[in-house]
């Protein structure tokens, strides 16, 4: 009885979450003429018009590529550098560790809105406006603290004896990190990579402020700028949203399987 109740609740939740997505996917295949005609759950005609327009007429590839580059670079840098940072904070003994951690957290607490203008001026001085680094660097300031906090927690719960065994076996700190800590940290690394990627893939404010032309627009910015003065191309917007969502959802699903596998096969304790 209880189990069935939970199943029902879960089902409702899943439907509530998936319905807008379903609606968007269906709508993106519906011709403009029918879009506002008679909404129905089961579509009558599916056409690729919007997608054709998206990639043919508008060159949606460019924002997709921009987003991939920026989000990818942010993720790699954030997990790479943040991972090393987190390892040091989790394992090495040095003065002022707690203040450093608190400071790192504080940095990520700034409301984004409040630092847009100073960052704009800074990036202009550095001639980084409308460049990939001009987005990646600001993203890192928000992504790294998150990564560091996640990974510090993760590294701390690995038994330190494994690393000590590595040291006794003659491996230096870096080698131990590479051959022993990293392989055991897959779930943590994957989680922070996904979160970072999602954050930078969806980020809007900085992307809008620090890019100046279509050649550097990221997906969210490009989609926003679809709307013309007199009409809003809903079909294309929805098609673009689907294009922006599906690959990410796929990546997360695949990675999640890995995370779960990593967690259960852990058996970290000797």
């Amino acid at each position: 009885m209880r189990a069935r109740g939970w199943a029902l609740v879960t089902a409702l939740l899943v439907v509530a979450i998936l319905f807008p997505l379903y609606w968007a996917v269906i709508a993106s295949f519906t011709p403009d003429s029918r879009l506002f005609a008679s909404p129905s759950l089961v579509p009558r005609a599916l056409v690729l018009d919007h997608y054709r327009a998206l990639f043919g007429g508008r060159d949606f590839w460019t924002p997709v590529r921009n987003s991939l580059v920026v989000a990818g670079a942010t993720t790699v840098l954030s997990v790479g550098l943040g991972g090393i940072c987190a390892y040091a904070l989790a394992r090495l003994r040095f003065r002022g560790k707690a203040p450093v951690l608190a400071f790192v957290l504080a940095v990520s607490m700034f409301p984004q809105m409040s630092i847009v203008s100073p960052l704009y001026l800074l990036l202009r001085e550095l001639r980084l406006l409308n460049t990939y680094p001009g987005l990646v660097l600001p993203y890192l300031t928000f992504a790294m603290p998150l990564t560091i906090w996640l990974l510090v927690g993760f590294f701390r719960q690995l038994p330190p004896e494994l690393e000590e065994a590595g040291l006794m076996d003659g491996a230096g700190r870096l080698r131990t990190l590479w051959e022993i800590v990293l392989p055991l940290s897959w779930p943590g690394l994957a989680t922070s990579a996904i979160l970072t990627f999602l954050y930078s893939w969806n980020e809007f404010l900085f992307a809008l402020s620090f890019t100046l032309g279509p050649e550097r627009y990221t997906v969210p910015v490009a989609i926003t700028l679809f709307r013309g003065q007199y009409q809003v191309p809903w079909g294309q917007i929805l098609a673009a949203a689907v294009v922006a969502t599906v690959p990410v959802a796929a990546i997360v699903l695949v990675a999640e399987r890995r995370i779960v596998a990593g967690l259960t096969s852990g058996a970290v304790k000797g």
Partner: protein, 367 residues
């Protein structure tokens, strides 16, 4: 092959806990030194100081006469077996064994040969492709041992390597470790709180308390001539009887007198002045149950513990407070709870300690 020395080493943890205080210890090349002590006495800390996993707050660590106090663990060339084994969970047994050789840049063929040799010696060849999670506790222990010996390090450090094994396996592995030490003749430092392990394995035993060494001596010596009351109480099972007595002249002889009994010291050399307070220690094996009238004292039997080969009898003796007198009797003796018996202490087996300092004052057997 290495001689290891600690010179006036202290370790205060960042928490303010002093784990080792002003400890000096020399470990001779090729010996198996056991660090024995109660929980929290600083044994693991000493081992970790030798390994380089902790840096001393003061003092020096020397390996083969070279000061390695600040040398990091990878460059000390020692191997350690952890209590939890700390096998790399994501590596197969083969990779676990090979890792230490690989990081040292040994060529692949040689690594392979060494791993095979070691696996054969430890009888774990069949397990080489498994992950640690797929091994039993005993098998993990062997792999951990293999990971240490495969590298042929200068010395081995063991931190309670047998404490996670069941008693039968523990006894078997203990014997193997002794054989291993004989075969390799490499310096070993072995931490345990199990005195049986210490006595059977150790060339020498260092008894630790509260971060300091109370006595370092060959295993039997620690048992036969404990240096102070702590070692006397700690070593030996069942524990030694210790009583507060005074040395007094009774008639024409000297006696050790306590409220519960009196022991004639005729023919025994006690270097304490008359009237001085001492602790007298007698092992339960060195007390006999005798017919009435021939003993040093008497008491009522409160507990009878048959251990198999022998039986331990706890006597309640008036004047000793809550302390029992522990006596080991043959397993076939007919002693039962409630009996009143007379006991006699073998006067040549006494251990006498200064009541104030707790240090040993006479030598047993007149030595």
């Amino acid at each position: 092959m290495a001689a290891i020395a600690l010179k006036r080493v202290s370790k205060v943890y960042p928490t303010g806990q002093t784990a080792v205080r002003d400890l000096t210890l020399e470990i001779v090349n090729g010996e198996l030194l056991v660090l024995l002590g109660p929980s929290g006495s600083g044994k693991s800390t000493v081992l970790r100081l030798i390994a380089g996993l902790e840096t001393p707050t003061s003092g020096q660590v020397l390996i083969d006469g070279r000061d390695v106090t600040l040398v990091p663990p990878p460059r000390r060339d020692l191997a350690m077996v952890f209590q939890s084994y700390a096998l790399y969970p994501h590596k197969s047994v083969r990779e676990n064994l090979a890792f230490g050789l690989r990081v040292r840049g040994v060529d692949a063929a040689r690594v392979d040969a060494r791993v095979r040799e070691t696996a054969t010696a430890l009888d774990i060849e069949a397990l080489l492709e498994r992950r640690p999670a797929q091994l039993s506790g005993g098998q993990r222990q062997r792999v951990a041992l293999g990971r240490a010996i495969v590298r042929e390090p200068k010395a081995f450090l063991f931190d309670e390597p047998l404490s996670n094994l069941d008693p039968t396996l523990r006894a078997g592995t203990r014997t193997e470790l002794a054989l291993l030490h004989r075969r390799l003749a490499t310096t070993m430092v072995y931490v345990t709180h199990d005195q049986e392990e210490a006595m059977t394995l150790g060339t020498r035993v260092a008894v630790m308390r509260a971060g300091a060494i109370e006595q370092v001596a060959p295993a039997l010596e620690v048992f036969r001539r404990p240096a102070n009351t702590f070692v006397a109480r700690f070593i030996g099972s069942p524990a030694m009887n210790l009583w507060a007595c005074t040395c007094a002249r009774v008639g024409d002889g000297r006696h050790l007198v306590s409220p519960a009994f009196s022991i004639d010291l005729t023919g025994i050399d006690v270097a304490v002045p008359d009237g001085a307070g001492v602790y007298v220690g007698v092992r339960p094996h060195d007390i006999d149950i005798v017919p009435n009238g021939e003993g040093n004292g008497a008491g009522g039997v409160e507990i009878v513990e048959p251990l198999g080969p022998v039986t331990v009898v706890h006597l309640r003796v008036g004047g000793l407070g809550d302390d029992f007198v522990r006596v080991v009797v043959p397993a076939d003796s007919r002693i039962e709870v409630g009996d009143r018996v007379t006991f006699r202490v073998r006067p040549d087996r006494l251990h006498v300690f200064d009541a104030r300092t707790g240090q040993r004052v006479i030598d047993q057997h007149g030595r």
